[in-house]
């Protein structure tokens, strides 16, 4: 029996190979090659493309440890990632719950479309729209002053909250989608069973729904946290001078200072830190789920 199973699995693999090959080839070319080039760069004194002489060095990595600025910025970026992820949970989870368990038919489709619309709009357009809303004399300022009886000054532009708002808006659809998928898979009769046993809606949420949708929350958090820690567009445009983060420094190395080796080294340090965080978090989360 077992041998037969193994044979079947092997022949299954062989017939699947032609199907898998294009995907792996693409992954190799599109990810592995540029990535290894970057690894290579990160150990160089200068870019070979510029024609200047170059040598191997560990200096780019050493730079991270020798200047406390990088560590400070990395911590700021991790905090940003954490805050944005938390806000995405606070906003996205209830939205996903309503979509999956409250709305039906037409209205569900309509709201769903609204939620994933940011996905389809251009990132820059999205960010500049926020700039128009948040700046002094902008849409939010004007609207609030039109409604409120007293005069207030709303100028969120070039501030930490503006960065958070922009990032949450960009990334909340991930949370809604992953949570929606796990919430939708929870049978409604589980909720009814909980209530028939005397549990309030809140108790059912805490003891049944959240534990069962934890995989979606975790997936959404990972999908949001990782790119937000390295983000640079929202911090730069919406944060202005306050928007200096680890991601913007990396971007500077590539587009402004042309110190690709340092930029690459900083990227790989970020990658390592994020991987360590995920590795530490995953067993904890698995036990909880």
């Amino acid at each position: 029996m077992a041998a037969q199973g193994a044979v079947a699995a092997r022949s299954g693999l062989r017939s699947a190979l032609p199907l898998l090959a294009p995907a792996y080839l693409w992954l190799t070319v599109a990810i592995f090659l540029p990535l290894s080039a970057m690894v290579f760069f990160s150990f160089m004194t200068d870019l070979p493309l510029t024609g200047k002489p170059w040598a191997f060095t560990l200096g780019n990595y050493a730079a991270f440890f020798s200047q406390s600025l990088y560590l400070t910025l990395l911590l700021a970026s991790l905090r940003l990632g954490l805050e944005v992820t938390l806000w995405c949970i606070v906003i996205g989870y209830p939205a996903a719950y309503v979509l999956a368990k409250v709305l039906k038919g037409r209205s569900r489709e309509a709201i769903f479309l609204l939620v994933i619309l940011p996905f389809w709009s251009n990132g820059l357009v999205r960010i500049f729209s926020w700039a128009m809303v948040l700046r002094e004399g902008g849409i939010l300022d004007t609207a609030l002053n039109a409604v409120l009886p007293f005069k207030i000054n709303i100028d969120l532009m070039y501030s930490y909250p503006a960065v958070i708002i922009g990032l949450v808006h960009s990334y909340v659809p991930y949370m809604v989608l992953t949570c929606y998928l796990t919430l939708q898979a929870i049978d409604d009769s589980l909720i009814e069973a909980g209530r028939s046993l005397g549990a309030s809606r809140l108790q059912v949420l805490k003891r049944v729904i959240i534990p069962l949708s934890l995989p979606g929350l975790v997936a959404g958090a990972a999908l949001i946290f990782v790119p937000v820690v390295g983000s640079f567009m929202e911090p730069r445009i919406l944060g202005g001078r306050t928007g200096t983060f680890y991601g913007t420094v990396i971007e500077d190395q590539f587009v402004a200072v042309f110190n690709w080796p340092l930029g690459a080294a900083l990227s790989f340090i970020l990658l390592a830190v994020v991987l360590v965080i995920l590795a530490v978090a995953s067993p904890v989360l698995r036990r909880a789920a």
């Binding site: 049978d187 009769s189 589980l190 009814e192 069973a193 909980g194 209530r195 028939s196 046993l197 005397g198 549990a199 309030s200 108790q203 003891r207 049944v208 534990p211 069962l212 789920a289």
Partner: protein, 354 residues
């Protein structure tokens, strides 16, 4: 524990009347079956009693207390779902403990109560398992233990055995009945299986298109159905249609059929008579006639042998009648044979045309 009174309850979904002025009195400690075809409103009625859904009009009382606007979590009911609805993220014991734990009972109390409930459903040793490690029958027992451990006032079951195979279903019927007797809880059991309703319940309510067709003990509904629907839905019945006479009906061909029970009808009104297949005697000739027996001539068109009995299909005047004969070792009739059918008026029920 408590009885349940449903009075004039109606519930519509859009233009569709799922429940239409239903009134039933569920006695304290009784085992009640709600029987009806799919879409007849059984689940809707159960959900009104449970409190998952509120009626548009009418009154529901549990133990004399009006509850029609009380949400489910405050009604102190126990519910068993067709798909078990066990919490997959919890062990069997935690599933059973859920109701006590949300109520804030002490840990020690919960542990003993859970063990007692699991012992009652004969799953005492499986508390540590996860629901997905259990068989269908075991899951159903856990669902039952979970529903009764909180000592609810009423136990509601929506086709709880529908997902089980035949042999297991019969086991569970006996088991369920035993447990219900042991704790004496008022039980309302939804089913579309007439045999299940007949064998398990003290009383049956038959629903059709959101209305209560007939309600009473199984024997009463079986012996004295008040509509063609009740007669044919609960058990098998031969139906004759004609015009009411003083004590029965007259068929189109002039044959009179006498009925021993049923309503008093105006002579000439449209009416039917129902007779159960096992009440009819079948013979090759008229033999000795006792005066007032109903008698018809026909021809055997088909015989189905089922070991302990045989079913004969007898054609007469464009109608096929069904006769079930116990296997007593007497000669069997062959297909194509002319026969005489005979049954007493006491076995015949007069039914007013609906």
């Amino acid at each position: 524990m408590a009885g349940v009174q449903v009075s004039n309850v109606s519930r519509s979904f859009g233009a569709h009347k799922a429940l239409d002025d239903v009134s039933i009195d569920f006695a304290d400690g009784g085992f009640y079956a709600l029987l009806g075809p799919s879409g007849s409103g059984k689940t809707t009625l159960l959900r009104q009693i449970a409190g998952f859904d509120f009626p548009d009009s009418g009154r529901i009382a549990i133990g004399g207390e009006s509850v029609e606007r009380v949400p489910v979590e405050k009604r102190r009911i126990g519910m068993v779902f067709q798909n078990y609805a066990l919490f997959p993220n919890m062990s069997v014991a935690d599933n059973v403990a859920f109701g006590l734990s949300v109520r804030g009972e002490a840990k020690a109390v919960i542990a003993t109560e859970v063990q007692r409930a699991l012992d009652l459903v004969q799953l005492g040793k499986l508390g540590g398992r996860r629901p997905h490690q259990l068989s269908g029958g075991q899951r159903q027992r856990v669902a039952l233990a979970r529903a009764i451990v909180t000592k609810p006032r009423v136990l509601l079951l929506d086709e709880p055995l529908g997902a089980l195979d035949k042999a297991l279903r019969v086991d569970m019927q006996i088991e369920l009945k035993r447990i219900q007797r042991e704790i004496g809880i008022t039980t309302i059991f939804v089913t579309h299986d007439q045999e299940e309703a007949l064998t398990m319940s003290d009383r049956i309510g038959i629903l059709r298109d959101g209305g209560l067709v007939q309600e009473g003990p199984p024997e009463e509904i079986y012996d004295r159905p008040r509509s063609e629907f009740a007669a044919t839905f609960l058990g098998d019945a031969n139906i004759f249609r004609g015009d009411a006479t003083g004590n029965g009906i007259r068929l189109a061909d002039g044959t009179a059929i006498a009925a021993g029970s049923g309503p008093t009808l105006v002579a000439g009104a449209k009416a039917s008579c129902a007779v159960r297949p096992e009440r009819i005697q079948i013979a090759m000739d008229a033999g000795a006639t006792d005066g007032d027996a109903n008698m018809l001539k026909g021809q055997v068109s088909k015989r189905i042998f089922a070991g302990n009995n045989s079913t004969y299909f007898v054609d007469r005047a464009g109608q096929t009648l069904k006769v079930i004969v116990q296997n007593t070792g007497a000669d069997r009739l062959t297909e194509g044979q002319d026969v005489v059918l005979r049954w007493s008026p006491a076995s015949t029920v007069l039914i007013a045309a609906s």
